[in-house]
Amino acid sequence: MTARLDGRPAVRVTGLKKSFRELDVLRGVDFDVAPGSIFALLGSNGAGKTTVVRILSTLLKADAGTALVDGFDVAAEAAEVRQAISLTGQFAAVDEVLSGRENLVLVAQLRRVKEPGRTADALLEQFGLSESGGRRAGTYSGGMRRRLDIAMSLIGNPPVIVLDEPTTGLDPQGRLEVWAMIRQLAGQGTSVLLTTQYLDEAEQLADRIAILHQGKIIANGTLAELKQLMPPATAEYVEKQPTLEEVFLAIIGSGAGTPSRDTGTPPEHQQQGEKP
């Protein structure tokens, strides 16, 4: 494992560009992730978050720009980068046929950890999976799978962990479990790069938030800085997925507000008019 120099960013991305045929997905992306911090890359679907993640984890080559992970160049020093980084994909990549414990042992063997079995047991314990460790991962709930997935990325103590939309598709309970785990990770000194499309997730977890929109970072700062930079009026920069409530309201007519806000004294004629 490489020793990190003090002050050197865990991740440094400069002028990163990537196109797929005609489509410019990344159009010059720059950001740094400070060691031991949680950095959130916030953006809507298709903003380019996963492309950044795939370039950082050496799964994809950039067209231009540089990306350093723990000081190593993703293009020139791919092997060192793979030592330093661990990826947790958007679609929890666990082996469904193997048990939770076997999944962990597999990764431990591949990363050539000294005692794969003991490492696996310790992680099962840490992530509250000891009881289900012998069961096939295919039988796990969404939250358990994601926990196992993240546990697998921790093997070998990589200094940088990338979590690509770690809570997408999870129920509220699973989401809270994963959040607690990410906080625990950063507490141990691991640098975390988190991509998310959920504003509250970035708000809850991140030391620093960058907003990726149409292939560019359009804002980058702490939550407090962003709040100053971007008053509510400019929140339109981010395409927020509509909630069911918003969809519902849009369908029944934009004039109607939420019931809680309208409990004052609605005009008599309007109430009558709406009743068949």
Partner: protein, 256 residues
């Protein structure tokens, strides 16, 4: 890409153990691989075989080599399927993002394919023995048959790797094997080629299955193998080299 090649063998062993575990946990893939060839064998031996003149040979002795090739052709469909599933599920990407020899994840599937097909082949030979297959072949001839089947499996496995890597759907990943399963029917596997009409006969006599079937049949019946063996080896090696090159270039495009 000379990185971590030193760990290639260790990584490949670990990953092969993983996919072998998949097979042992769902042995149905071994059995379903064997079911179709066994069904074809039963039908030919008990229904159609009586009307086919195979000279001095018992019909089951005559057609077993073809059945074994059909077994391999249907077995490699699962190789493509397993590879495709790994690519779809993200497991493959996880391995690719780890500090391991990248080609290990491909070789693990290839070795697993060999092991799985050997198990299916053993099963089919076992059933054939129950149905009355007999051979006077000694250990040397059996070894030669096993070697020939292994080479054939390896060649078709690389074809399956190309299919698994380039497929867009599960169906696409295994559909490539259907023509391969059909190929032995237009060869010397089930009926002597001299009863076939001109162009069909020409095709049957010049396609790879015929030389492989003739070689294995000669080994089982203790005849001299002759030129068929070299032709069979050339076909297998040729298919393997072309499929391997295609597989590697498809793989490089896939993992960029």
């Amino acid at each position: 890409m000379n990185t971590t090649t030193t760990h290639f063998y260790g990584n490949t062993a670990v990953l092969t153990r993983r996919s072998l575990r998949h097979i042992l946990r769902s042995p149905d893939t071994i059995i379903t691989t064997a079911v179709m060839p066994v069904a074809i064998m039963v039908m030919f031996v008990y229904v159609l075989g009586g009307a086919i003149n195979t000279g001095p040979y018992e019909y089951i002795d005559y057609m077993l080599p073809g059945i074994l090739l059909i077994t391999v052709a249907s077995g490699i469909a699962y190789t493509a399927f397993r590879l495709f599933t790994d690519l779809q599920s993200g497991v493959f990407e996880r391995f690719q993002s780890m500090p391991i020899a990248r080609s290990s994840s491909l070789w693990a599937h290839v070795l697993t394919s060999l092991a799985a097909n050997l198990m299916s082949l053993a099963l089919v030979v076992g059933v054939a023995l129950l149905l009355g297959f007999r051979t006077g072949a000694g250990p040397g001839a059996w070894l030669a048959v096993a070697g020939m089947l292994l080479l054939f499996t390896l060649a078709l496995t690389w074809v399956a790797v190309v299919a698994g890597l380039s497929a867009k759907t599960v169906e696409g990943a295994s559909a490539f094997s259907y023509p391969l399963i059909f190929l032995p029917f237009i060869s010397s596997a089930f009926v002597p080629t001299d009863t076939m009409p001109g162009p069909v006969r020409w095709f049957a006599e010049n396609q790879p299955v015929t030389s492989i079937v003739n070689s294995i049949r000669a080994l089982f019946t203790q005849q001299s193998v002759g030129a068929d063996l070299w032709l069979a080896l050339a076909w297998c090696l040729g298919i393997m080299v072309v499929a391997y090159a295609l597989a590697i270039s498809t793989y490089k495009r896939r993992v960029s």
